[in-house]
C-alpha cells in the first residue's frame, strides 16, 4: 500500500508553498476543516490521518512502531518526501506538535517553520516540572477507555446524521468523524500521555510559533511557556480561546494567528 493511501493524504489548494496539517490526539484530519480551507488560495494544503485514525489503513498499525512518537514522525517525513514537498510549513495540533519537533530534529532542513497548537512535551509532572497530571491520573485516563468500552464504541461509531440544523453535514458524516479502533485509541493514548520530549525542544533550529489556549486542562499555560523557553527560535501567542481545540472552537483566531506568522 502506498504511503498516501496508508495515511489517507488529501492535497488541496492552488498555492505553491506547501502547508501540512497534522491532527493530534482525538479524531482525524477533520479537525482542520474550519482552518485549512482558509489557506487554500495561498498554499498547497496537505492533510492526512495518522495511522490508526480516521480513514488511514488500520492494518498498517504496528504496536511497536507507534509505541513512541518517533514512529509517527517517520511517517510525516515519508509523506513530505513522497509528495516532494519543498520546505513545507508544519502545523501540528496537540501531540502532533511534538511529532513535528521530532521530524524537524531528524531532518533539520525539512520544514520552513513549525506551528504548534496546544503543545506539551510531557504530560506527567516531574521534579521541577509541571505537566499538569500525576502518573495516577494518567493511569486513570488510560483505564477510562477500558471501563467505558460500550459507551465509547457507541459514541465513536459512525453517527448517522439526522440533524436538520446542519443539513450540509448530512452526507459527509456517513463515514465517521473520530472513527477509531478502541484498541488503537488506547495505545495511542498511552503513547501520547506517557511521552517525554523535553530534551528534544532545545535542538530545534526551525522558527516556531506556539499557540497556547487559555484554560486548557490538557496543555496548561505553564507548559506552553516551558516549550517557548526551551525552543530557541520560538514565539509564544496566548489565545483568548479556551479548551484544547481552538482549531474547532475558535477557528478565526487560529487562522489569524497562523497567518500573521507565515507572512
Amino acid at each position: 500500500m502506498s504511503i498516501l493511501a496508508r495515511n489517507n493524504v488529501v492535497v488541496s489548494g492552488s498555492g505553491s508553498r506547501p502547508m501540512i496539517f497534522a491532527h493530534g490526539f482525538g479524531c482525524d484530519q477533520n479537525m482542520w476543516r474550519l482552518v485549512a480551507p482558509a489557506f487554500e488560495q495561498e498554499f498547497r494544503t496537505v492533510l492526512f490521518d495518522h495511522v490508526g485514525a480516521g480513514r488511514s489503513d488500520l492494518s498498517a498499525y504496528d504496536r511497536t512502531k507507534y509505541s513512541h512518537l518517533g514512529g509517527y514522525a517517520d511517517d510525516v517525513i515519508e509523506i513530505c518526501t513522497d509528495l516532494a514537498l519543498e520546505r513545507p510549513i508544519f502545523v501540528g495540533h496537540s501531540v502532533s506538535s511534538m511529532i513535528g519537533v521530532l521530524a524537524a530534529n531528524k531532518c533539520p532542513e525539512l520544514f520552513e517553520a513549525l506551528i504548534l497548537v496546544g503543545p506539551s512535551p510531557r504530560y506527567i509532572d516531574d521534579e521541577g516540572y509541571r505537566g499538569g497530571f500525576s502518573s495516577q491520573q494518567i493511569e486513570e485516563l488510560l483505564e477510562f477507555l477500558e471501563s467505558n468500552h460500550m459507551g465509547w464504541s457507541t459514541a465513536m461509531a459512525p453517527a448517522i446524521m439526522g440533524n436538520s440544523d446542519r443539513p450540509e453535514l448530512a452526507e459527509e458524516l456517513t463515514n465517521s468523524f473520530c472513527r477509531t479502533d478502541p484498541e488503537i485509541a488506547r495505545h495511542f493514548a498511552r503513547t501520547t500521555f506517557t511521552s517525554d520530549n523535553r530534551a528534544d525542544l532545545g535542538k530545534v533550529g526551525t522558527p516556531s510559533l506556539i499557540l497556547q489556549c487559555s484554560d486548557d486542562v490538557i496543555a496548561p499555560v505553564c507548559v506552553g511557556e516551558f516549550v517557548h523557553a526551551k525552543m530557541p527560535d520560538s514565539r509564544l501567542v496566548v489565545m483568548q480561546a479556551t479548551g484544547h481545540c481552538p482549531n474547532l472552537s475558535a477557528p478565526e483566531e487560529t487562522i489569524e494567528a497562523i497567518r500573521s506568522f507565515v507572512h
Binding site: 493530534g24 477510562f144 471501563s147 460500550m150 457507541t154 459514541a155 453535514l169 481545540c245
Partner: protein, 523 residues
Amino acid sequence: MANATFCAWTGFSKGDLAGRRFQELLTLPGRIYFETHFAPLLRMQGTFNEVALDLVRASGERMPVLVNAVERQNENGEVQFIRISVFNATDRRRYETELLKAKQEAERANQALQELNATLEARIASELEQRMKAEAALRQSQKMEAIGQLTGGVAHDFNNLLTVIIGGLDAMDRVLRGLPATPETARLSRLREMAFHGARRAATLTSRLLAFARRQALDPKAIDVNQLIKGIADLLQRTIGESIAFEVVTGAGLWHAVADPAELENAIVNLSVNARDAMPNGGRLTIETGNAHLDEAYVESLDEPVDPGQYVMIAVTDTGHGIDKETLSKVFEPFFTTKEIGKGTGLGLSQVYGFLRQSHGHIRIYSEVGHGTTVKLYLPRANPALAAFQPGEREAGGYYRGSERILVVEDDDALRAFSTSVLRELGYTVLEAANGRTALDLLQERADVDLIFTDVVLPEGMNGRQLVDRARQIHPRLKALFTTGYTRNAIVHNGTLDPGVDLLGKPFTVAALSKKVRQILDL
C-alpha cells in the same frame, strides 16, 4: 444553566453551576476525552449521542451518565447554546459491567472446555490402557488360580494312592530283609528299589503340583537365611557341577525371614538347577542375600497383591542365555517349560512361585537375553522377638516303635488299611474308624486311647479338626496327629499351621510316620 433534576443529581445548586462549563463536572479522564473527542464531534457534527461519562457530584462521588448534546446555531452559523441532556446511567453501567464479566466468564469456560476436549481423547486412551492392564492382571491371577485348583485336586488324589504304593513297597523291603539272601531275593530287591524310586519321584511331582497350587502344608519358622544357604552350599555346588563358578554373597545384619526351611531349600535348589541349565557352556552362579523394603509405590505396580513392608531378599543370578519377554510372561505357569521333552517337568519355577506366594512373599525375575537372569525371592521379615529355627539333624535310619493305643480315622479304605497295618507293625494297638461319628462312638466306649491319628478331610459333615475337638471333650488329654494331602481345610489357615497342631503330610513314609507318632506320644 441547569434544571432542578440535574441539581438534585449532582448536589450542586443552580448558582454553583451557573457560568461553569459542562466538562468541568466530569472526572479528569472524562474531561480529557470530552475536550479531544466529544467536543470536536459536537462542533463538526452538531450533536453527539449517548456518550458514557462520569459526573463528579458535590460530594466527590461518581455518577455514571449518558450524555446527549446538540449545538444550536443562529442564521450566521454562530453557536447560540448547547443543549445537553444527561441520563442517569448507574444501572446501565452496572449491567454493562456484569455483561462484560459474564462474557469473560463464558470465554474462560469455553477455553477450558476446548482444552478439556483436547485432552479428553488422551485421557480416555490412558483410562482404557489402565483398565486393560487391570483386566489382564486379573485374568492372569484367575488363570493361575484355576490351574491351581485343577492341579491341587488331582495331586490330592494322587497322594492318597502314592501313600499306599510307597507303603506297600516299604513293607516289601522289610519282608525281603528278613529273608535269607538268594539271587531271587536280590533281584526282587532291585525291582523293589526301582519301583520305590519311581513312586518317590511321583510323590515329589505331586508335592510340586501342590506347591504350585499353594496347597502345601507349610511349617514356617523364623530362619537365618544365610545359615540355611551355607547348609546347602555343598549340595548346590554338586548340583551345578564344576564348569560353573559358584559364589555366595551374604548380607550383613540380615534379618530373620519367615518361611518353611525345607521348602526354601527346595526353592533355592530348584533355581540353581535352572541356572545350571541356562549355562551349558559354563558361567557363574551367584546367590546374594540382603534386607529389603518393598514400598507402596512398588507393590502398587505389581499384578498380584503384595503387602508393603520389610522383607529378606535372596537373589539367584546366572550368566546364562537369559529369558525373552514372551517366555518371561509365562514362566511361572505349571508345565510350561523351555526344555526338551523328558528333560524337565516344567514344574520347578511354578513350585517356587507357589511357595513364595503361600509364604506371603514375592518373586521377581529380571532377565536379559544373552546376558543372564536374576531371580529375586522376597520373604517376610520375622518378628525380631522370634527365635531362629535350628535345622535339626537329618532323619536317622530306623523306626520308632511303641505299644500305645492309636485310633486311626480315615475314610479312604486302602489308606486306612495301610496306616493301620504299619502302626501295628510298629507295635501299637490300633483301632479304626472310617468317619468322625464312628470314631466318637469308639472313644465313648473306651478310655484308653492315647493318640488319635486322623485325616483332616472326613466325610459326613465332621472334619478332623472338629472330631478332635469333640474327642477332647470326652478325653481331655487325648493326643492328636493330623494328616492331609490337601490343605484347604480347618486346621491350616492360609497354609500356616495353627500353633499346637501336629501334621503329617501325605504321602508319608513309614519312617516319617513312626517318628512323628513317637514324638507326639513322648510329649
